[in-house]
């Protein structure tokens, strides 16, 4: 218990320093948040125009697209708001031998790495996700509870998956590009209704790029209020993290450090 408390105090301090560091440049801080909000909005408007034209698409109507966007953007935003290193830099830190900084401290290595970078623009994602949900018309307590729970699970899966892709650098060397592309692919595929895909492509969305677990599956859970599917989602989150922990800590034995000069936090 004392251990967990110490870890939480440390993480709170780390997040505080992160936030302070991000706010050092006020204009950049605000423009990133607003920029991401507008970026999501453009995508969103595209779908509204599309559904006005065609009504439904393979079982999805415009309300469900709102819900899909709400869960994916809120999950993505919550996940990477404080876990920015996994989204952008983890493979780079590993390949460049820059984990040294974290390894000398008496803290949980993975948590320290994950929470050492904040992606400011994700505040825009979180705000967008909450506003998008207000368009879904699902305001019962159960629906709101399921929405928030699935968004948190999506966040956990997003971060876990990016730990997996980032850890590839232990095995492949320079995996930064591959890592970013895989996480980008997960986000992109998550924003489309799952029913659009079939066969191998659909299978891929449940395995190699588990976009279904951060998009379509949460949408099904909220709209059908499906407890069994919720348990499946919890299981998927646990499985993603077990793989992530194995790949990270097994890979750490292969870590080779490096002689690169300078790492600014």
């Amino acid at each position: 218990m004392k251990r967990i408390q110490a870890e939480l105090i440390f993480l709170r301090a780390l997040v505080g320093v992160n936030l302070a560091s991000a706010m050092e440049y006020r204009a950049s801080f605000i423009s990133q948040i607003v920029g991401m909000f507008i970026n999501n909005g453009i995508y969103f408007v595209f779908w509204i125009i599309f559904f006005n034209q065609f009504g439904t698409i393979r079982g999805y109507n415009v309300d469900e697209i709102f819900l899909l966007f709400a869960i994916v953007t809120l999950g993505y935003g919550l996940g990477f708001m404080f876990a920015g290193n996994t989204r952008q830099y983890m493979a780079y830190l590993v390949a460049q031998g820059r984990l040294d900084y974290y390894l000398v401290f008496p803290r949980n290595l993975l948590l320290h790495v994950i929470f050492s970078k904040m992606i400011v623009s994700t505040v825009g994602d979180v705000a967008f996700g909450l506003i998008a949900y207000s368009f879904t018309g699902r305001f019962t307590l159960v629906e709101i509870g399921l929405f928030l729970t699935t968004a948190v699970l999506a966040a956990i899966i997003f971060v876990g998956y990016s730990v997996i892709t980032g850890s590839l650098a232990f095995y492949m060397g320079n995996a930064q590009y591959a890592s970013q592309q895989m996480t980008n692919a997960m986000l992109t595929f998550a924003l489309y209704p799952n029913s659009l895909f079939s066969g191998a492509a659909r299978m891929m969305l449940y395995t190699v790029i588990p976009a279904a677990f951060v998009g379509s599956v949460p949408v099904d859970i909220v709209r059908n209020q499906d407890g069994r599917l919720l348990l499946l989602l919890v299981g998927a989150a646990i499985l993603v993290w077990l793989i992530a922990l194995f790949l990270f800590y097994y890979g750490l034995r292969r870590y080779e450090s490096g002689s690169a000069i300078n790492v600014n936090i």
Binding site: F10, A13, L14, E24, V104, R107, N262, N264, I265
Partner: protein, 327 residues
């Protein structure tokens, strides 16, 4: 009883390094035909370090110094051998060891770049789980020792290299480490900043018996701080003795500066002595102590002409180290 802080026995580290022929053709070929070479960074090194010792761990670039430090701080797993730091095996007990070890990598800052050093100090208090009252006292002591009171509120990016390094070292001492690994702490600093950092390190060592494990290419750091030198080259330990023994063993050559009362009218030449420089009133001479004793040289100088001043010096430590590296 000896209080051994670091014990290293047969420690070794090898890396597998990808080999590729030069140019585009080599790159294309390496896509499906990868050749790897095993490179030995550290090979079978053994040494111990006692509490309160200040050890200079030196060697040329690529000798294996940083790799050794990284194994002793738990950053790297060794390929073979054992090491114990404060009773812990670094790569197995990384977190437990971390509470008692400080490290400063001169080329890898720990302070948050965009924030004042004070913010990183407070973060470190949380990282090392320090009591905030104790932290405040310790912080004040270090601020005084390193004379950094007026630097703490300035974003690190705005500090000079010397100012930043003082803050870096102070930060690494906040948790009262029993041993501190300093990897090139004075790299790129001017003479004043170097001296301030050396003074502060010496003060900490005297006050708290902190064991210092120093790597540096600066002979001044070694001479002014460390009583013992370990030299590593090509991954192998080639020298482990006191700094004074190193000087005695390798300082066969002496340098004599002479100032004469009268101007010199002819080239100043002595048997078995090399004249390095000659001016109107002075000469700089060098000789090998094994070939001719110091007193003989001095007698010959005084017999040749009336002297105002004579200074006998050892060549700089840098030259000795260079000589050892060449072997």
């Amino acid at each position: 009883m000896r209080d051994v802080v670091v014990h290293v026995n047969g420690l070794a580290k090898t890396f597998r390094v990808k080999q590729k022929a030069a140019g585009l053709r080599g790159s294309v070929r390496s896509l499906w035909h990868t050749e790897e070479k095993e490179v030995t960074a550290v090979s079978d090194i053994t040494f111990s370090l006692e509490k309160g010792e200040m050890l200079a761990f030196i060697g040329p670039n690529g000798a294996g110094k940083s790799t050794t430090i990284k194994m002793l701080t738990g950053i790297l797993y060794p390929s073979a051998g054992q090491a114990s730091v404060l009773g812990y095996t670094p790569w197995k007990d990384r977190r437990k060891l971390g509470y008692h070890v400080g490290s400063v990598f001169g080329q890898k800052p720990q302070l948050w770049y965009h924030l004042p050093a004070e913010d990183t100090f407070r973060l470190f208090a949380r990282i090392y789980e320090l009591d905030m009252g104790e932290f405040q006292k310790r912080r004040d002591f270090l601020v005084e020792s390193f004379q950094i009171a007026d630097l703490l509120q300035t974003p690190v990016r705005k500090l000079s290299l010397g100012q930043r390094m003082k803050c870096e070292i102070a930060a690494s001492l906040l948790h009262r480490p029993r041993i501190i690994f300093l990897d090139e702490p004075t790299i790129g600093l001017d003479v004043v900043a170097k001296q301030q950092i050396r003074d502060a390190i010496r003060y900490l060592n005297e006050q708290e018996q902190t064991t210092i494990f120093l790597t540096s290419h600066d002979a001044g750091d070694i001479e002014s701080l460390c009583k013992r030198v370990v030299i590593i080259n090509h991954g192998r330990l080639i020298y482990d003795n006191s700094t004074s023994a190193l000087k005695r063993q390798y300082l066969r050559r002496k340098i004599i500066d002479v100032r004469f009362a009268e101007p010199l009218t002819a080239p100043f030449v002595l048997p078995c002595v090399e004249t390095l420089k000659q001016g109107t009133y002075g000469v700089k001479l060098e000789f090998d102590g094994r070939e001719i004793p110091v007193e003989t040289v001095v007698q010959q100088i005084m017999a040749a002409q009336s002297c105002q001043d004579i200074t006998i010096a050892d060549p700089p430590l840098e030259e000795i180290i260079r000589e050892i590296y060449k072997k």
